[in-house]
Symmetry: C2
Subunit: 301 residues, 2 copies
């Protein structure tokens, strides 16, 4: 029996993992402060994952074989530079130790492309050095190293996903793609920066499925979750605006860009495709169309 | 007014810092589970430093300007390879964040020579790569990196001491030098391994004074706390046995050595001597004689 405990289940990343987890045969347990309609059959444990007593109680009760740890401080606008990131480092180390003590065997973490030193054509798990420039990236990179060591010390198997850029269902309303889509669907103009940077954008539904494939594998260490394809931000929002039916409402270049943006951030995908064996990408045109349709339903509520 | 909060105050390291802190003009506050006779004028806060509520309460009450964080899981025999080390990583990050939030300005941590990759003639803060081989070293090295990042995020000034090998008052009874001294003072034989490894042994009274000088300075980043001198373990215990009056009770080579011991572990001391300006070492002959005298008093109790 595979029993998984999911943290941060309501968030953008884990939310997209819930249905794939159930489909992969996991008994799904989620922990969070506020229950929500997940649409799948799972057990929700109402608790603050930062509370050690509550955490240990849930672990002892559920005795999960697997852990999908996606909880992190991403709710505030300044999360990239907040000292709060380090609170989640400690919590994550505690959770791993407690999970192992409760008999857990396999854990998956949500790292980030912000752990890498940006600049090379693709960011490779094996070759690209870590060199985070933000507090978010530093905290995740530091936690990655410590989690690998702690996994050795406790004997559990771990995978560390490195997420690149995502678009799709359950993204926060104020973030780029949702804000463009919701503005345009509401008939308002959507101003953006020039958007000439190239980023690796992956459909969130695919991210959820890829993460579950990774968790359900025995692949250890860091694994990029990306497409390997460079998408310009301007191209992405233009496509979204077109699919919303009002490309003329998009105002690319109306906002001033931040200086010093790195031109290209793209994932090496060899580990995901060959080692995990996941290669089932949704074409971006389809993903964006589904995303626009999803927001139409959300905004109608 | 300088107000320092000391964690792990009863332990080998911090215990030796208490008198120097008072002498340097600090108002001294200690936190720990069990009050003890410190011999100096300080405020003891009875609490488990792993308890977040208690910790924040003390920080809010004391509002320390300085922090000397020496608490760590060193009580168990297997601490070098224990997963418990990672519990203290999280706790230490939380403490730093809480200290900064409570208005703290300057913090000193107790790192270790076990963070370094061993093998070079001296281990240098600027040049020697980190490459810990033990869980203790890995946890401390990981915490070091994160603490530097967290200091940036919160704006506090930090120093990270890297302690080498210590002998002297307040060392745990079961450790090498105390066990040799107490056996011989009790008239029993003291078997040891060949002890040909060279280590940087510093008198614990000196370590306490050097740490307080570092805390009271503005020197940032990692600073070795060592002598720069290679002492063979056999030589150290032979001197101790002689000072106990019964060199014939020492049985060097009676125990089998662990294979693969690194020959030489010695500190570069440039930062401590020149940047911190601390250079007031006690000769080893004096330090060992004082240590033997200290144990005579302890064992008489």
């Amino acid at each position: 029996m595979k029993r998984v405990l999911v943290t941060g289940a309501r968030g953008f990343i884990a939310r997209n993992c819930l249905a794939p987890l159930a489909k992969a045969g996991f008994e799904v347990h989620a922990v969070g402060r506020t229950p929500f309609d997940t649409g799948i059959d799972l057990t929700f444990h109402k608790a603050d994952v930062l509370d050690p007593m509550a955490r240990v109680h849930i672990l002892e009760t559920v005795r999960p074989t697997h852990l999908l740890h996606a909880a992190w401080n991403l709710e505030t606008r300044d999360y990239m530079e907040s000292a709060e990131n380090y609170r989640w480092v400690g919590m994550s180390l505690d959770l791993t130790r407690e999970f192992a003590e409760a008999g857990g065997r396999r854990a998956l973490y949500t790292g980030t492309c912000y752990e890498y030193r940006w600049g090379s054509a693709v960011l490779d798990e094996r070759k690209t050095p870590l060199g985070p420039r933000t507090q978010y990236g530093k905290a995740k990179a530091g936690l990655f190293r410590l989690t690998e060591d702690l996994a050795d010390a406790t004997g559990i198997s771990i995978a560390w996903s490195r997420l690149f850029f995502l678009y799709g269902p359950y993204e926060g309303r104020r973030r780029l793609v949702p804000s463009v889509i919701s503005s345009i669907l509401s008939g308002r103009e959507a101003p953006t920066t020039h958007g000439r940077q190239l980023r690796d954008y992956m459909y969130s539904i695919d991210v959820g499925r890829a993460l579950v494939a990774l968790l359900d594998s025995e692949v250890a260490g860091p694994v990029n979750i990306g497409t390997g394809t460079a998408t310009s931000i301007a191209g992405l929002v233009s496509d979204a605006a077109r699919l919303c039916g009002h490309p003329e409402l998009l105002r690319v270049g109306a906002l001033e860009a931040r200086p010093g943006e790195v031109k290209r951030v793209v994932a090496a995908t060899e580990r995901l495709r060959s080692e995990v064996g996941w290669d089932d990408y949704t074409p971006m045109e389809t993903g964006l169309a589904e995303t626009v349709a999803w927001w139409r339903r959300e905004l109608a509520l």
